[in-house]
Amino acid sequence: MKVTAFAATMQAVWFSHDLGETWNRPKTPSGGFYNEARCWSVVSHPQRPGEFLAGTDQGLYRWLHETQCWNYIPSPMDDLHIQQLARSPDDPSFIVCGTRPGEIFKSEDDGITWQRCNLDAATECWFINTTRVTSIQFDPDDRDTIWITIEIDGVFRSKDRGETWESLSAGLRDVDTHNLVFFGQPGERTIFCATEAGLHKSTNEGQTWEFCPTPESPWPYLRCLETKKDGSGIMFASVGQLPSGDVGMLLRSMDKGETWEKSPVPEPINSTIWWIGTNPVDPNLIFLCTIFGQIFRSQDGGESWIKMKRELGEVRMIGWAPTPE
């Protein structure tokens, strides 16, 4: 299987076609954004092989494998920072974007028309001044339900495809929230939430959260959560000393978050591990990026890791998808 890896960076989107060994940016005259465009998010969809959406500081863009170029998608978000993107697992035409400032926009017709959702998130926050959406998840058990995390205003959920939202932050030690993962069957599942002040879990669909100690980490700052995409219950959590910091760590849990161990990611890790890129097509292929540009790869489901030679400045998201034949 050929693979296209992608990295959303503060210098546009980079692609790799050799499992992260080398990386390149598309030609500038390909109709897309400029080489220094700030890109926070890239998503693929299994029903749209070879297609990626990118959220940038100058709007939303679509990459097509056939044309090998980025195409601008008109939207009301041109002057915002599109920091997160998600597409409904059942319907790639249903696109949800999270921005800075902390707003949610949705399109149910593949980006032709857009609706700003009525989200009651804070419009200001201390320390970073302006809130931003840090993750968007379609609920794995109910595709009309959408979960988001906001830095800094906690967890929100919509049960009606983004029409209405409710804040679900009771019990969080800190509402500087970054990511969520889901385990278990409906009615008895556990949701984990990464925050600036550590890991939390909820066993009542986010109504309340409780702190989960991770003593293996010397720092409480959790950033990304991800499961190994094979249903095994293996979960990864990225941590760092600070929002950027100068050191990072990857934790792994083999028992759905009950206990944790340090993953053997080669050191030194130069900053917080910002994103964990997986794809159910091959659960064993996983990429990591640190916010300050390091890239790591595992081809055995996280048992071992190697550092890629290439570094990419400031990276906010990494992932991969099969390359169309």
Binding site: T22, W23, N24, R25, P26, K27, T28, N35, P76, D79, L80, R100, P101, E103, W114, Q115, R116, D120, A122, T123, E124, C125, W126, N129, T130, T131
Partner: protein
């Protein structure tokens, strides 16, 4: 659906914060015999640019105070409604104060205007048309302006007739905290170019040194 992304520098009692605030509803206040009359208007004329292009030789500027919804409470900024035959602009400063720290001394905060012709006397915030009613209109007292809303409270008796080009200064002076906030509007005549000549394009597609496959 449209919006204006307002990026104020909010000067609080201790810190300056810089939230980006998405506003999508603008209301202008009409004084009414009873209560207030909030008239919806387009946000597409809202801007924070310090320069205004004018097609007419004389335009009217109405000094205004703005209430802006923000997550940590209503913001107060200033600027002007700029009236011309070709349209109306709502010009807002990128500076703001928090209403919660002003509300106990509105009478000591003066709106001042210089430039153009008109009444030059200052006016207290609490003397603006229905200002107290407007603030209370939004429910939860002083901080209740709902998300995404901006309210323009004009001082029509302080309007200025301005000969273009001209510079007009609108200021808020807080006699209690001894702070000031200013928005200066430079009115530019569209009939005169800022350059004597404009460079013509020298390339068909721009300079090119050779084929570039990609950037690594």
């Amino acid at each position: 659906m449209t919006h204006y992304l307002y990026k104020p520098h909010v000067h609080g009692p201790e810190f300056i914060t810089t939230p980006d605030i998405l506003v999508d509803r603008l209301f202008r206040v009409n004084p009414a015999e009873q209560g207030i009359d909030l008239v919806p208007a387009s946000v597409q004329g809202v801007n924070t640019l310090p320069e205004v292009q004018c097609a007419e030789s004389v335009i009217t500027i109405i000094p205004s105070v703005f209430l802006i919804a923000a997550g940590a409470g209503t913001l107060v900024s200033l600027g002007a409604e700029v009236l011309a035959d070709e349209g109306r602009s709502t010009c807002i400063a990128r500076f703001a104060w928090r209403l919660k720290y002003l509300s106990d001394h509105l009478d000591k905060i003066k709106l001042q205007v210089s430039g153009g012709e008109g009444d030059s006397s200052e006016v207290s915030l609490n003397a603006l048309p229905a200002s107290a009613d407007i603030i209370n209109h939004f429910g939860d007292g002083l901080d209740g302006v709902p998300r995404g809303i901006i309210v323009s409270i004009s001082a029509p008796e302080k309007k200025r007739q301005c000969q273009v080009p001209e510079s007009v200064s609108i200021r808020l002076a807080d006699g209690h905290t001894e702070r000031t906030m200013e928005h200066r509007l430079n009115l530019l005549d569209v009939h005169s170019d800022c350059w004597e000549t404009r460079p013509q394009p020298r390339y068909a597609v721009g300079p090119q040194t050779g084929e570039v496959q990609h950037f690594v």
